[in-house]
């Protein structure tokens, strides 16, 4: 289809680009100063990346065990991890 992009992996080209641009635009609509925009963009970039990795892990577990129970367990563990991470960030 596209000779320019033939043979590449979307997880290393398109998805990082998507995450980068979404983070930058979203952060720029939240703040006015560049420092705050960049800081917020990095935070959102990391959040989006972790979220996508978590979904990838759950799908991999679902595929590997071919059963819903381990996948739900993995989803629960990751959800607890994210809640703990969020609470740690919010604590003074």
């Amino acid at each position: 289809m596209h000779t320019l992009l033939a043979g590449h992996n979307i997880y290393f080209v398109e998805l990082p680009l998507l995450i980068l641009l979404i983070s930058l635009v979203y952060s720029a609509t939240r703040f006015e100063e560049w420092r705050a925009i960049l800081y917020e963009a990095i935070r959102w970039g990391l959040r989006l990346t972790l979220f996508l990795i978590a979904i990838g892990i759950v799908l991999y577990v679902l595929h590997y065990f071919n059963s819903l129970v381990p996948a739900l367990f993995a989803a629960f563990v990751l959800a607890v991890f994210f809640v703990a991470l969020n609470l740690r960030q919010r604590s003074p």
């Binding site: 992009l5 979307i10 398109e14 635009v25 720029a28 703040f31 006015e32 100063e33 705050a36």
Partner: protein, 203 residues
């Protein structure tokens, strides 16, 4: 005086002057409203980011496929872009919606893509002037943002990979993000001051 808290307090909506002109400009071309307001850096950032998303999506969603039927016959199918609004109300209208609403129901991606501004207008022109008999598309725009044939879409989907799905995600996200950019032009950022600046003003 305000104290240093996180996240910083935003100005109430009623205290912010609305800038309708800037909002309209930001709809037309992402970031143009911010440039009009003097926030040039932010405007350029929005322009580059949103148009990169949109046009990369447009590029990924296009393609040509050649399929061999027999020894001598080779059919060529081309999809020029994934930003289009097909007139499919006659084929599928389960809720008896008005024609345009039914077409948008059948192609909901365009509801998001529309908000990218003038870059999505060729699709509206093509929708209004669509003629199935014209093989090479509209006289003015050609195939650009024209509804592709069902056969071309099927050929591209069967020969393609996840790129086609990701492609329309790019264009839809570009449009949806531009809604936030329009709001930024209309009413300013969600948090106009940061913690650091508040500290400076209170000292």
């Amino acid at each position: 005086m305000s104290s240093a808290v996180s996240p910083p307090k935003a100005l109430p909506l009623s205290d912010r002057p609305s800038d309708l002109t800037a909002a309209v400009l930001s709809y037309l071309i992402p970031g143009l409203g911010q440039i009009y307001q003097g926030r040039v850096g932010k405007g350029i950032l929005f322009f580059i980011c949103i148009y990169t998303l949109f046009f990369v999506g447009l590029y990924l969603g296009s393609g040509t496929v050649r399929i061999k039927r027999g020894e001598d016959i080779e059919e060529t199918y081309t999809v020029s872009s994934n930003v289009y609004l097909p007139d499919t109300a006659d084929q599928n209208n389960p809720f008896h919606l008005p024609r345009l609403a039914a077409n948008l129901y059948n192609r909901p991606q365009f509801v998001g893509q529309f908000w990218v501004g003038v870059a999505a207008w060729p699709a509206i022109w093509q929708y209004l002037n669509y003629d199935r008999r014209q093989e090479h598309g509209d006289l003015l725009l050609g195939d650009f943002e024209r509804t592709p044939s069902e056969a071309a879409l099927n050929a591209l989907h069967t020969s393609g990979d996840k790129l086609l799905e990701l492609a329309w995600v790019f264009t839809v996200i570009a449009g949806v993000l531009n809604i936030m950019v329009i709001y930024d032009a209309l009413a300013g950022p969600a948090f106009p001051t940061t913690q650091g600046n508040e500290n400076k003003t209170t000292q």
